[in-house]
Symmetry: C2
Subunit: 377 residues, 2 copies
Amino acid sequence: MKPMKLFTPGPTVVPWRVREKMARPIIHHRTSEYRAIQRGVTDDLRRFMKTENPVLLLASSGTGAMEAALANVTRPGEKVLVTAMGKFSARWKEIAEVYGLEVVSADARWGDPVSPEAVERALDENPGVRAVFTTHAETSTGVLQDVRSVAKIARERGALIVVDAITTICAENLETDLWGLDVVVGSSQKGVMTPPGLAFVSISPAARERVEGAGRRAYYFDLNRALAAYDNGDTPWTPPIGLVMGLGEALKMIGEEGLENVIERHGRNARATRRAVEALGLELLASSPANCTTAVVFKDGNAETVRKHLFDVHGIRIAGGQAELKGKIVRLGHLGYCFESDIFTLISGLESTLLDIGVIEASGKGIEALFREFHEM
Amino acid sequence: MKPMKLFTPGPTVVPWRVREKMARPIIHHRTSEYRAIQRGVTDDLRRFMKTENPVLLLASSGTGAMEAALANVTRPGEKVLVTAMGKFSARWKEIAEVYGLEVVSADARWGDPVSPEAVERALDENPGVRAVFTTHAETSTGVLQDVRSVAKIARERGALIVVDAITTICAENLETDLWGLDVVVGSSQKGVMTPPGLAFVSISPAARERVEGAGRRAYYFDLNRALAAYDNGDTPWTPPIGLVMGLGEALKMIGEEGLENVIERHGRNARATRRAVEALGLELLASSPANCTTAVVFKDGNAETVRKHLFDVHGIRIAGGQAELKGKIVRLGHLGYCFESDIFTLISGLESTLLDIGVIEASGKGIEALFREFHEM
């Protein structure tokens, strides 16, 4: 009977308009009808990612798109730099190793971003880096990285810059062309409010040159094929038609609210959540917090208790810690289709849980902090 | 106003029950709720693919699953045999070349299957083949191949047997374990009546041994990770949650009708379609026809005219020829959620179109042929 309320940083809530679109009868993909839908989707993505570059659709999770990016812009034995600050940014290293690259790493404590200075130092100490693989927001810690500065440093040294923006597209300010980002990777189940299974990558002219000259090291993820099909509004393989139709509707909704308003809403919700968490006497993990998720540290070992209680009692589904943060944090997702009143639900549920398990005594402080943020007090 | 009626061999019609399931609120995948759904799906797939082997889910099109199969059971430089008889079976060669394999090929005219004798000859002339990559039904020609005999020959020579069964799962008799098929590849948008974007592979103990010993040549498609996650009802990457939920409902529907009845329905619809096509004086392409699609040859160059007319006048969407068969054939799909009355629609539409464009004069012969098949006359 009790409804489930999703507050995870992906998958995120899928609006009814999107689900209704996906519930319609399926159409065939080798038709002008489908091609028009796909072109609308890729054009909206380009607009929201602020780029003139082509945006290629892939039937895969975000990880597949990361691999596609890496496999197509590198050659075996080349030196690349990875900025690692959590589970997902470290994934670039794992993929690079499978592709036989020499990996230089600029690491940060899980909870901090990798500073532009650290990137600069790593590049100076390791001349000949051909590409930098970085992450706009690290979902495992809720940390935002200054990819604009990282990109500037990479470009000054002639390296390509490849950005995992999976949890920031339509949630943070992201200027693909202005910042000179060569490849930007996104996926459907985050800020763009669609179920998982669809990913996308933008490709700059410089990256395209690398892609076109690449020896073929992948078949399904061969971006030459995707680029050739793109001009025709096509994909080389059968696309996830229903998800593409759903994403089209989601992007239309974002356009209606206005991208800048959507990003501002994300920022406000994230700030409000952080103020509330601190008002409840809890500790924030991220020194440079992102809009997608707020990681809360539980030094008392209560993280999993809180997470379980929130779901069992209130149907509120939040995320736990991953890898080395397992059992040490919870992650409150406020990404995508998430509004002020949803944050009320989330914070009231959290506060009520803390009361139930005896971590705090008084109540109302979390919600009070939200009011302060939302009413600009 | 005019409704579109889908008669393509993939994507196929998605039943409302499946679409309704996918229209439900999304759930998180790292939960017991999701794991139970995924286990139900993989158990049903195992039952319908007649295997005790694990069936791994992949967020990709069928081509991605073919690459996953090939990348994981081969090593660079190894010799493999491909049976090529059309666009999709020839794809095995293209993938094998990307992975640096030595490819031996047993080819057939597009419209014929590769005979077991040809496979035997190729294997005898090329000792040391480690794996045979074959295709149960070739969608570009509508040809069914005797994979049972091919598998027997491969196994006798110690080669692994990998089968693309993308258009035959739940549409043709397929005995994975009885026939000794090591890897069987399927995808969602064919006989199992779900939108595209979800693929699956079964892995025999012998194939698993190869997978586990493989140097890692892919990351997203690393089946070691998928096998490790499988035991927990998990996937290594975010799965296409909505599609998995949809597939669960589709498999439930197949279970309700009964797999044997579903396959018999496919066979009857395919036979009826062929009888009708011949009664209309048209030529069939396939010497050994499959249940998924009926390819009709138009030597007069009318293939694309017929296809366009069927859609423009009747909203009936069929497929054309691909690659070397482009413009020479049409393909009538009768795969998945397709019943007697749908075949009435398809054949009446075809007959009416042939009248309109002046290819035939009398009418009713196609439908009469259907009645003969359906009434066992």
